[in-house]
């Protein structure tokens, strides 16, 4: 198995997480899913990464970005992987 460069921290059945999953699929992006605890107080792993205990959170090794909040993530994915062809990716933000 090759290691996808995008890791999605998610909570089972969380609609905000599914929103991000939909966007990842839309752009054909490979990602690794890491499921965390429902209990807020036990979500140390996302707190360490993003500074918040909320999910979804993504870590994108392509760009070095770590981010939470589904609206932000969707916008980020759109901006980074949307519309522009693959060959033009990684040339900075719009």
């Amino acid at each position: 198995m090759s290691d996808p460069t995008i890791t999605l921290y998610r909570l089972q059945a969380c609609p905000f997480c599914e929103r991000v999953v939909r966007k990842l699929h839309e752009h054909g992006l490979e990602y690794r899913s890491r499921f965390i605890e429902p209990m807020h107080s036990e979500r140390d792993v996302v707190k360490r990464l993003s500074g918040k205990r909320t999910v979804p959170a993504i870590v994108d090794e392509n760009t070095g970005v770590t981010m939470s909040e589904s609206a932000n993530i969707v916008e980020y994915l759109e901006r980074t992987y949307g519309e522009r062809p693959q060959s033009e990716r990684g040339e900075g933000g719009v």
């Binding site: 198995m1 921290y9 890491r34 499921f35 965390i36 605890e37 140390d44 792993v45």
Partner: protein
């Protein structure tokens, strides 16, 4: 166990033997913070020492408790990568890791549909729990390319691994 009656016999299992390659599978592997799909081959390739794969009764059943208490106290994780596998969900596994105080050093595969036990030829139906099946108690010690260095599969129910024999492999 010394009992003055016969325990349930399971007969011989047709499981992969020492020297053979352990069947490959991918299942959610639960640690103290999250779970993610991990292939057995990946686990073996990344392990510094051997991998000890422990099939056990569902979380909460006394054999699961006994087995993990013993493995924890023996400190196998210092020489090996020690992972369990049961039909319990990742949520139950999180509790087991915490309750047995094995967080951080041990991880547990979750296989509610019991497909891995079927691949390994060690599936057993549970009498009185219609529709449920789980693995027989079993221990496999694997090297970095999944070759089986030691295999033990229980032939009675309940039964417990020969811990000293496993330890001799580490």
């Amino acid at each position: 166990m010394d009992l003055d009656f016969d325990v349930v016999g399971l007969g011989e299992a047709d499981h992969p033997a020492e020297g053979e390659k352990a069947p490959e599978f991918t299942r959610p592997l639960v640690n103290d913070e999250f779970w993610e799909d991990v292939a057995l081959s990946e686990l073996c390739a990344e392990s510094e020492g051997p991998v000890v794969l422990v099939f056990h009764a569902m979380d909460g059943a006394f054999p699961a408790t006994y087995v993990w208490n013993e493995i924890r106290d023996r400190g196998w994780h210092e020489q090996a990568t020690v992972v369990g596998l049961s039909i319990s969900t990742p949520y139950a596994h999180k509790d087991l890791l915490e309750e047995r105080d094995i967080e951080g050093d041990h991880r547990l595969y979750s296989d509610p549909a019991n497909g891995v036990a079927e691949q390994y030829g060690i599936a057993m139906d549970l009498d009185g729990m219609t529709g449920l099946a789980e693995p027989r108690p079993a221990v496999f010690v694997l090297d970095s390319d999944r070759t089986i260095e030691y295999a033990w599969v229980g032939e009675e129910w309940p039964s417990f691994p020969d811990y000293d024999a496993v330890e001799a492999q580490l």
